[in-house]
Structures are given as C-alpha cells and as structure tokens.
C-alpha cells in the first residue's frame, strides 16, 4: 500500500500539478513538495507528490515498475 510511483511534473497550477506517468497524465497535489516546478520528477503516492527525485533514477524505477505490472495486476 505504500508504493509510490515516479512521474514528471508538466505544469504547476497553485497547489496542484499535472504529472506525466509515461504518457498518462494525472492531476497531483503538491502540498507535501511545494518546491516542485515543471520539469521536476516526483514520487507520487495516493495522488500526492511525496518526494523529488533524480531523473535517471525515476526512469529506472519506471522501467522496473512496468515490468512488474506486466507480471502482476497491480495492487495497492
């Protein structure tokens, strides 16, 4: 249940931001990472960004997550 997924901030609009998860865009709340700006990578959990991460690490994590998703059908 504590899984957090990396995505790239596309646009910031007040306390919310548009975040791209490998092509799928979602609205994410930035209350816990207010310093995030467009272009940053963040870890997202339950619709909130919880941490800023390095781009390369984000991409690696995403590649692994995609593999994981292909093996299982998601979960918490």
């Amino acid at each position: 249940m504590c899984l957090a997924v990396p995505g790239k901030v596309i646009q910031v609009d007040g306390k919310a931001g548009k975040v791209d998860f490998l092509g799928v865009q979602r609205q994410v709340q930035l209350d816990l990472v207010p310093e995030a700006v467009a272009g940053d990578w963040v870890l997202v959990h339950a619709g909130f960004a919880i941490h800023r991460i390095d781009e390369e690490e984000a991409r690696e994590t995403l590649a692994l997550l995609r593999k994981l998703e292909a093996e299982t059908e998601g979960g918490g």
Partner: protein, 362 residues
C-alpha cells in the same frame, strides 16, 4: 534509460555475498507490504541459505486494521446521508460480520478512491452528504490525508471527515523486539515510509535495542543488497541505521510532511489486528482538527474488539514473526486468496497472500 545493468550477474554476486555472511541462524524482518511481495515474487527465500529466515512483519496497513474499526465504519455507513470512501484494498477486508464490499452490494454508498483528495471532491460536489474517508495507512499515506484535511479546512468544506485508523511504524517495530516473542536480528526498513520520516526515526531502535536497520528499496537488487548490508552489520557486531535506498530516502525525510502530521494529528494508542494494543502507534485528529474526526461527527459506538480474527487464523503469529504462513494449519486449504479466512490472505500485500501467489520458496 539508464545503462542496462546486468541484473542477473549483480544478483548472483549479492547471493554469493549473502551466502558468505550467514554463519548461524539469522532472522531478518521486513515491515512493508511491498517488500513482502518483492521477496516472494523474486523467489529470494529459495536462493538464500536455509538458516536465514526472512520474516514478514505487520507491514500491510489494511491487514492490521482491527475488525472492530471496520465494524464501526460499516455502522457509520448505515446512517442516512453518509458516504464511505476508501482505498480499494480495504473493500474485502472482513469486519466481524460484514465487509465494505458486501455493504456496497446491499446498497450502501461505498466508493473507492485513488486519493483522499478525490473523497474531498465528492464532498464539494455533494454538500448534502457527509463524506467519510477511511484513514488507513502508515506514514507514507497519513501525510496525504493530513494535507487533505488542511485543504478541507482552508476551503471551508464542512461535510468531509476521516475515520482515523492510521498506524505509526517505528514504535511498533520496537514493541515487536521488546516482546521477545520472535527472534529479530535485523530490520529491512520500509522505503517509502522512510521517504517521509527519515532514517533517523530508527536510530533509537538501533542504539537502544541493538538491532541493525537498513532502509531498503523494492527491486530484487535493492532487497538483496539490503539483506547483505544487515548481515555485514551482524558479522561485525554493529547495530546502526544504514540506507540502501538512497534514491528516495535520506536521514531527515520530508520535513513538510512531518510538520503536517504533527499539526493535524496527535498520537494515540492503536490496536493492531492479531497483535494487540501497542501504545503510541496510532494517529487521530488533534484537538484543533477534531471536527474532521468521523467519530465526532457520527454518533455510533465502536464495538468491542473480541472478534478480531476468525477462529483458526494464525495471522497474529505470522505478523509477529513467530510463524511463517505455511505453519498455519489452514494455509492453502481452508484459506486461499479466492476464499480468504484471515486478513493476511485478503490483501495482495498480506504475508499469506504473497506466499500463496508466488510461493514462499521454502
């Protein structure tokens, strides 16, 4: 993409390192459902020496939510104009008589959300309803709910509240060690809980209880490296807090999230399903935010805690690290993911479900 690391070769290297470090019986415990799944899915137990036991602690927030709290929430959901909102994981978890899923099938208004913020949106759009969000989760999740409560107050959304069933991880780890019921030589510490609280939260555990702690990520290589780091500490007689999962955690954690938790919640005692009461491991809205506490808003009493686990279910022993899932007499027979008896088999991150789905290895 990053340079393609030769995952298999690195894994073999780590297995060899682990092999060389296990000299006698060792028990390491993880306390995160994502680690529970990772260890089973990657088949790590089958590849490490037999006397290295990998235990799954109470790492699934859904599994440790007491039946009485689910009963309480269900009772609230039967009141007029109340909407229950919850993460999907919670739907099938049994209370003592019903589940949220069954309530929904009977026509109660139970809605699954991906974020607590979605629940707040329902409240905005349906001002004549009282929207209750089921507040389960560890420190990864509780700040998102704290932030939602702050937002509700800022925006003057008065018909939103939270049923507090949160759990705080480090003091529970301490209680498990202190109880001496199971042998725990080291902790594989949860990655994303630590993103919030920082690795310093485990320092008292390492110092006062002399148990090594390594904050670990969720890929196979992360987990193997975390295990190797713990074994190295044990071999050299150290008990420190180390970070394997550098890319998402640090010693300090997320100070804004910590402040948010401090402001919106206060510590309370919490009942862990199958384990019992652990003082100071729960969170509930602080006085300042008590109007967002569902228990203040809906006047139905919390039932007592007698019926916490079905008869014959060993989930408590499993989560305390006393037993492994296959030690439970009904594992895989009377209890399977399609017909679960205990909470650890319901949630995909439960120790028993992970073991059943992917095989424990040994």
């Amino acid at each position: 993409m990053g340079a393609p690391v030769d995952v298999r070769a690195k894994a073999e290297e780590l297995y060899a390192r682990i092999e060389g470090l296990v000299r006698g019986p060792v028990s390491l415990m993880e306390v995160c459902g994502t680690h529970t799944m990772a260890i089973s899915r990657f088949g790590i137990r089958a590849r490490v020496p037999a006397n290295l036991r990998l235990l799954s602690g109470p790492g699934c927030p859904v599994c440790v939510t007491p039946a009485s709290q689910i009963d309480h929430l269900i009772a609230m959901g039967r009141e007029p104009e109340v909407v229950i909102t919850t993460f999907g994981d919670m739907l099938r978890v049994p209370g003592s008589r019903s589940t949220l899923q069954r309530e929904r099938a009977r026509g109660r208004d139970v809605r699954v959300v991906y974020s607590p913020f979605d629940a707040l949106d329902f409240a905005r759009k349906e001002p004549n309803k009282l929207v209750v969000f089921m507040g389960v989760g560890f420190e990864t999740t509780s700040p998102t709910i704290a932030a939602t409560i702050v937002r509700a107050r800022e925006d003057g959304v008065g018909n939103f509240c939270v049923y507090p069933a949160f759990k705080v991880v480090p003091p529970a780890m301490d209680a498990l060690v202190a109880s001496e019921e199971a042998r725990i030589d080291g902790f594989i510490c949860p990655g994303h809980v630590t993103t919030i609280i920082g690795s310093r939260a485990y320092e008292p555990l390492a110092r006062d209880r002399h148990v090594p702690c390594v904050v670990t990520g969720f890929e196979a290589l992360d987990v193997l490296e975390g295990i190797a780091m713990l074994l190295e500490q044990l071999a050299s007689g150290r008990a420190e807090v180390e970070i394997q999962y550098r890319r998402a955690t640090c010693r300090e954690g997320n100070p804004i999230a910590q402040e948010m938790l401090e402001r919106v919640f206060r510590r309370c005692d919490a009942w862990w399903r199958g384990i019992g009461l652990i003082p100071g491991t729960g969170l509930e809205p602080s006085e300042e935010f008590s109007v967002f506490d569902a228990r203040e808003r809906i006047d139905v009493e919390e039932p007592d805690k007698a019926q916490d686990l079905p008869i014959g279910c060993g989930c408590g022993e499993v989560m305390k690290g006393v037993k492994l899932p296959p030690d439970c007499p009904v594992f895989g027979k009377g209890c399977t993911p399609s017909r679960p008896l205990g909470p650890c088999m319901v949630s995909t991150e439960g120790a028993c479900a992970a073991w059943y789905l992917y095989g424990g290895g040994r």
